[in-house]
């Protein structure tokens, strides 16, 4: 039986294992370069986590999560870029003190919307606020009009395309297709050093675990059950007196917020941001991380992201010309053979045995919910 307590015992164990993995095991067992890669992958896990909430639980498939990852990342990158573009660093430019790409594009003064990013506190607020606000606008417009299912998915895809074209097309203001590169310091602290990378890795992992806890909190609240209910029978929820649109907007914004944090951490750890995270391809890939992990499994999102990225990196290192075959095959295999992803595998193979061992039935099984198919 399930309680409304914040986390059940087995969930605590699960979170503890993940925490041990990313906070202890990985930092101890892989070298700095690989750890930095893991850190980068974990920033995608924020997006996957958001998708678990919004797609797995809420039944809202967004193919545009890159929008929010990107906006969060760009907000952070704008701050870092401004810091890197001090008058001193940019004295060879015709207008010193503005980012280099602006100078290349004959812009002679910092555009107004860059101004807030001179302040770190303001930037931290905007990293979350801008994407969430954007998600709110999209969500409000779509969900109150009852756009859902595949339609929503395709529309988010279109919005991702729009944003990409805008960023690429307005390169004087955004850095265009190159993105915002060569980020160096955060309030004077060099983020490119190996020490900084270690610290950022742990900050990132800590934030991710924080988001995991938030996700669990939401899942176990009544709101979590309403989400499941909504995915099943939207009309029934509506006729139980709930504003369905409101709940959808909330979970969409939540997912956007998570993604934005991921994006910001990405910019910090990798040292640049580019439109190639905003578009359709990365957005779909992130959905795939979620599917591989198990769309209903909060922790699965993390494992799925790590697995796919690990596969991608090692396939592409070993077979630079053929790795797409392996990756494509992996996606197909997951969808066809393990529709509930890693979490499904765990539930059908590992857990029963664990159950036998401990003689107790754990309650993570509600992750084994049959697929809601939220499409029309």
């Amino acid at each position: 039986m399930k309680s409304t307590a914040f986390l059940s015992r087995s969930e605590w164990i699960g979170v503890a294992i993940v925490a041990a993995l990313i906070l202890v095991v990985l930092p101890l067992s892989v070298d700095g370069f690989r750890l930095n890669l893991v850190g980068k992958y974990l920033t995608y896990a924020f997006v996957a986590l958001g998708l678990v909430m919004c797609w797995g639980y809420g039944g809202i498939l967004s193919l545009g999560q890159g929008i929010f990852f990107g906006l969060g990342g760009y907000c952070m990158a704008m701050f870092l870029k401004l810091e890197a573009s001090s008058v001193e660093n940019t004295k060879i430019q015709s207008t010193p003190g503005i980012p280099d790409f602006m100078d290349w594009n004959q812009i002679t003064a910092l555009p107004w919307f860059w101004e807030p990013f001179r302040s770190l506190p303001m930037t931290i607020i905007l990293v979350i606020a801008v994407p969430v606000f954007f998600a709110f606008i999209i969500g409000f417009a779509m969900f109150t009009r009852r756009v859902g299912g595949t339609y929503f998915a395709i529309i988010t895809q279109a919005i991702a395309a729009i944003l990409t074209i805008l960023i690429v097309g307005q390169q004087g203001y955004t850095g265009g297709i190159n993105g915002i590169t060569d980020l160096r310091t955060l309030n004077g602290w060099d983020i490119r050093t190996d020490d900084a990378k270690y610290i950022l890795y742990f900050v990132n992992a800590g934030l991710l675990l924080g988001c995991v806890l938030i996700a669990y909190f939401v899942k176990h609240s009544k709101l979590g059950r309403i989400l499941v209910a909504m995915r099943e029978k939207e009309d029934r929820v509506r006729f139980s007196g709930y504003s369905v649109a409101g709940f959808k907007i909330f979970v969409f914004c939540l997912a956007a917020g998570f993604s934005a944090i991921g994006g910001a951490m990405f910019a910090l750890q990798v040292g640049f941001m580019s439109p190639s995270f905003v578009g359709i391809v990365p957005s779909i890939e992130m959905v795939i991380y979620t599917a591989v992990g198990g769309r209903l499994s909060i922790l699965g999102a993390i494992y799925g992201t790590l697995l796919v990225n690990w596969a991608k990196t090692s396939f592409s290192e070993s077979f630079p010309e053929l790795w797409l075959l392996g990756l494509g095959g992996l996606f197909i295999a997951v969808v066809l053979a393990f529709p509930n992803g890693l979490a499904g595998l765990y539930q059908s193979y590992v857990e029963p045995r664990l159950g036998k061992l401990t003689g107790k039935k754990s309650d993570e099984t509600n992750g084994a919910l049959p697929q809601g198919s939220p499409a029309e």
Binding site: Q157, I332, Q371, S373
Partner: protein
């Protein structure tokens, strides 16, 4: 923006842009028809649609090579052969994919998106491995490459006319198939309720397989036609996928007429705006317009209203 041009110029601008819009319209319809069947009718979100188109384009390329090398005298007509072969090749691949993959996913429509995304990666890589990473140049018969001058400043392009004609023919055939034939009825029944369709005597597996194959085959023909105006490379298919889905969705997924209306609206909007704005802005505004209208009419331009 208008002040740059004289009145006479504006006149020919509109004629020429209208014609350019019509070509774009045909292109959109051609791209979208296959998907209108696969996605609109069957509900399969086929992210590999572009790769099926490119298969058609490659087939066209190889046919042209074959004719150049072995039947140069018949080169002028090779394109028709190529289109037929493109249809068969993409259709056959579609049939195989339906059997291997899609049929297991009818109960999980959103999962088709993920699986076909994987498929598109695989196809791209296969094309790259077998046909090389570079784009191939498809040589066209000379008669297709010219244009007919109507007035001094207004010319119509023969391949544009050809695409328009082709689109018209294919659209009519598809419309007849879907709305006038017994087959179309069976397709729609199967899509609505696979189990019940079987229980009224429809061989659902066959219907599914051939419908999917038909959609893919049309994609192949579209790809074949696109060699006249676009590039043929392993990743060229990716360029079309968002536009194609938007056209189908904007039209109202289940409606063929909607697909056509939406292709018309989008193409005219885009080609007119492209003339006065930059290419990027025209695209952004068109997409924004589409998204905006979809908010107002969430089920697209043409919808079947059925009570829930």
């Amino acid at each position: 923006m208008f002040s740059d041009y004289s009145l006479a110029e504006l006149g020919s601008i509109f004629v020429m842009q209208g014609f350019a819009g019509l070509i774009l319209f045909s292109v959109f319809v051609l791209m979208a028809l296959g998907l209108a069947i696969i996605f609109g009718q069957m509900g399969v979100i086929n992210m590999a649609h572009g790769e099926f188109m490119i298969l058609g384009a490659y087939v066209t390329y190889f046919t042209s090579q074959f004719f150049l090398n072995y039947l140069p005298s018949l080169f002028g007509g090779y394109f028709f052969v190529a289109m037929g072969l493109a249809f068969l090749a993409s259709g056959a691949l579609g049939m195989f994919i339906e059997w291997a993959m899609i049929r297991h996913l009818y109960k999980r429509p959103l999962d088709t998106l993920l699986a076909t995304w994987g498929l598109s990666l695989i196809l791209q890589q296969l094309y790259r491995s077998f046909f090389g990473p570079r784009e191939v140049g498809v040589e066209l018969p000379e008669w297709m490459m010219g244009s007919i001058a109507l007035t001094d400043s207004v010319e119509v392009q023969i391949n544009g006319l050809f695409v328009m004609g082709l689109t018209t023919v294919i659209t009519i055939v598809v419309a007849l198939l879907m709305y006038r034939s017994r087959w179309g009825k069976q397709v729609r029944a199967v899509v609505q309720n696979r189990i019940m369709a079987g229980a009224v005597g429809i061989n659902t597996e066959k219907v599914d397989r051939y419908t999917f194959a038909l959609g893919c085959g049309i994609a192949g023909v579209a790809g074949s036609a696109f060699t006249m105006i676009g590039s043929t490379g392993p990743t060229s298919g990716q360029l079309y996928i968002v536009d194609t889905f938007l056209v189908v969705v904007f039209g109202g997924a289940a409606s063929l007429l909607g697909t056509i209306a939406s292709a018309f609206t989008i193409s005219q909007a885009q080609s007119t705006m492209e003339f006065f704005l930059s290419g990027s802005m025209a695209k952004v505004l068109t997409l924004l317009g589409v998204v905006g209208i979809l908010m107002l009419r969430p089920q697209g331009l043409f919808t079947l209203k059925v009570r829930r």
